[in-house]
Amino acid sequence: MLGSPLLLSFAVATLATLLSLAVGVLVASLLFYIGQVGSLSQRPARARLVELLDALLSLPLVLPPTVLGYYLLTLLGRHSPLGRAFEVVTGSPLAFTPTAAVLAAMVSALPAIARSTRAALCEVDPLYFRAAASLGASAGRALWTVGLPLCRRQIAAATMLAFARALGDFGVTLMVAGDIPGYTQTASLAVYDAVQAGREHDALSLIVPLSLTALCLLYGVGRLQDVERKR
């Protein structure tokens, strides 16, 4: 069904982006909330904790894919608690499956969304949160009904970028999902194989759609940022 590398790539990137959106917005909201509470009760320890968590969240953006792949394999492999639990529940190992490819794609997509969302929340005028609180809204409700909706363009732009990153992942996917043609071979891996084997035509048939998709996404992100600037 997902035999074509391009189809597999789009399916994996879509799933990874949706999961990253849900988890990333949640993580960003939590970090933002912890930071806010810290500032009101004047506990600098909270602020330092948030900075540390933020740095941890940013690690995947700077570490080599091989290092990230190693961590993920350690986390998901057949000898890890998570990998074993997955194998018990589903009957098959987690590493070197399309599911592992989704997780690999999330490694870069999730931090991108979480960081952008948190940055956007920090840019929201705090008086909006005060107004919501004076109307009886809990911090959680104020975030969900005011903070996040006010960041919707930035979140949409971050999600599009995250999809582009997920689509383009090579190293982490290779490490944890392998390069199994017709099973876990995504488009970026298939390009590598095709070029190595001198099948230039095959490579181009993947390179062109990948490039066009990325171009469209970046153009869309630019348009969104333009709208945001003019507000």
């Binding site: 009101l40 909006y128 919501a132 109307l135 009886g136 809204a137 809990s138 909706p149 006010l150």
Partner: protein, 234 residues
């Protein structure tokens, strides 16, 4: 129906906003409007933030009716600290801060989302009529004039039926021509409420309009202290 018992807003606070100077507040506000005046930077808005719960003083206490909202001794964690969202204190800021992604109607309903739809609509209809917002309910805040925005902010704060109301220079974002009209509407609305209202302004005209108790922030000579002492006496 019996008249609700008027609540008293009682506060003794000591704070050092941004470590710049010391602000001493001693307030006892009965139902009705009390005007708070003082030069810019003397701590008017800080006082409102303290009462609303957006700032924690170094020491002091706040009580609204029978409920203690804050009790704190210097150098200790507060022994009582009610979060802003649980204080039932309406707060209209200098800027209306309407939620730009919601319509006027949705802004008015924001604080009463827990009520049944019918009750929400009834309350919004009453407020919209009193504040002449009926034709604007489906508009976005960006399509409103300054006066209209401030009326929505006022309606939104009143919709929750607050036990006290803080108004921080509510006319500052309103065109001069619309100010008198808004003041009249405000007076009518507030005269029907039996809650303490603290009205911050630096305008002598607005102070004269309210013709009521006025508290003044007195910067002391050394300019390191600002003191509000006031027992409104109606």
């Amino acid at each position: 129906m019996s008249e609700p018992r008027p609540t008293l807003l009682d506060a003794q606070l000591s704070a050092s906003p941004d470590g710049l100077y010391r602000l001493e507040v001693s307030l006892r506000l009965p139902a009705g409007v009390t005007v708070l005046m003082g030069p810019s930077g003397s701590g008017k808005s800080t006082t409102l933030d303290l009462l609303a719960g957006h700032r924690i003083p170094d020491a002091g206490q706040i009580a609204l009716g029978d409920e203690v909202l804050l009790a704190k001794q210097a150098g200790q964690a507060p022994s009582v600290l009610v979060a802003p969202e649980l204080r039932h204190i309406g707060y209209v800021m200098q800027q209306p801060m309407l939620f730009p992604h919601l319509t006027v109607g949705q802004n008015l309903a924001y604080g009463i989302a827990q009520l049944p739809q019918v009750a929400q609509r009834a309350r919004i209809a009453t407020l919209a009529q009193a504040l002449q917002l009926e034709s604007l309910l489906s508009r976005r805040p960006s399509e409103l004039s300054g006066g209209q925005r401030q009326r929505v902010a006022l309606g939104r704060a009143l919709a929750i039926r607050p036990k006290a109301l803080l108004l921080d220079e509510p006319l500052s974002a309103v065109d001069l021509g619309q100010r008198t009209e808004l003041l009249m509407q405000l007076r009518t609305l507030l005269s029907e409420l039996h809650i303490p209202v603290l009205y911050v302004t630096h305008s002598q005209d607005e102070q004269r309009f309210w013709d009521t108790d006025t508290l003044t922030i007195q910067p002391r000579l050394d300019a390191q202290h600002c003191v509000i002492v006031g027992k409104a006496t109606r």
